[in-house]
């Protein structure tokens, strides 16, 4: 069973405060830590609802699910973080942002940029994406980027 802990709750409180401060919207997703196996089972259960072929499900099991270390699940408004891998500040911030994100498509680069703004961690964003979005911020301002993030439609259409 996925679990929480005092350490996680402290991390979540700080992350919620940081995300709320920049977005002016408070995420309300429940955050839990899970084992790698639990994450695998959870994602497979989600995929099972889409009636995929066996070959496609195998592809997910072999090539996709092993790389999932943190995920927001829309169906039950939960964020699961894999113990020892995904229970990190930058992954939590990224998933909390996804939990309130309204725009799509092109949803990742804008989330990467906001994750970087909140974490200042250069490993969370490709330098080229950072340059592109720094320019967008100069052109339109951070408020416009956040408004774009919280509104339906293409995340990169300003």
């Amino acid at each position: 069973m996925p679990w929480t802990s005092n350490t996680l709750e402290t991390l979540v409180s700080q992350a919620l405060a940081a995300v709320t401060q920049i977005l002016q919207v408070q995420p309300n997703a429940i955050v839990l830590v899970c084992t790698k196996q639990e994450m695998t089972q959870k994602v497979i259960a989600e995929l099972a609802t889409y009636q995929l072929s066996q070959a496609r499900l195998e592809w997910y099991k072999q090539s996709v699910i092993p790389f999932i270390i943190g995920k927001y699940f829309l169906q039950n408004n939960e964020i699961w973080l894999v113990d020892g891998k995904g229970d990190k500040w930058e992954v939590l911030i990224h998933e909390l942002l996804h939990s309130v994100q309204k725009c799509r498509p092109n949803r990742e680069r804008i989330t990467d940029y906001l994750t970087f703004k909140l974490t200042q961690d250069p490993t969370t964003i490709d330098p080229r994406i950072l340059t592109e979005w720094n320019q967008l911020e100069q052109d339109y301002g951070l408020k416009a980027i956040i408004a774009r993030f919280l509104r339906q439609g293409d995340c990169e259409e300003f």
Binding site: Y50, Q51, V64, F67, L74, G86, E108, T124, D126, R128
Partner: protein, 153 residues
């Protein structure tokens, strides 16, 4: 007996040791996976097994790779091989980072099948380094594929 190349004397002749594109590919793969069989290298590098044999023989003569007792190949323990592996690690991070960037850049704009094929190629080639060095980016890509099913299936 193979003479170990002298780094000082041969540093200006680096091409000889890095060798052909096939040698570079083999060395990149061994940097990433540590040990691989001829068949595994052939599959990951899209080379024929005979091409891989020729390449590995050349690299063995240069004392850059060794055949392990169980038939798989790895970098040798020579100082030059060790330096080369370190250099390749840095190069690989750039190569993989670039491949992930290109994939991320076009993931909403190319056919799903193409995207999956490109993603699978990256995973097949660089699996261990993806988890070690690009866990954040790979989590994002993996999450994207699952989300895709949610919104478009």
């Amino acid at each position: 007996m193979t003479e170990t190349p002298s780094i000082d004397s041969d540093i200006h002749n680096l091409d000889r040791y890095l060798g052909s594109p096939s040698s570079q590919k083999v060395l990149q793969l061994l940097t990433c996976w540590e040990t691989l069989s001829v068949k595994e290298i052939a599959l990951k590098a899209a080379l024929s097994e005979s091409q891989v044999h020729v390449t590995l023989n050349r690299l063995e003569k240069l004392d850059l790779v060794v055949k392990q007792a169980w038939g798989k190949y790895s970098f040798s323990n020579s100082k030059f091989a060790s330096l080369l592996k370190t250099a390749y690690s840095a190069i690989l991070e750039q190569i993989i980072g670039n491949e992930i960037y290109q994939l991320t850049k076009q993931m909403d704009n190319i056919p799903r099948e193409t995207l999956e094929a490109q993603y699978s190629k990256i995973v097949d080639q660089w699996g261990p380094l993806l988890s070690a060095k690009f866990s954040f980016q790979m989590n994002e890509l993996a999450g994207f594929f699952v989300e895709f099913e949610q919104y478009f299936t």
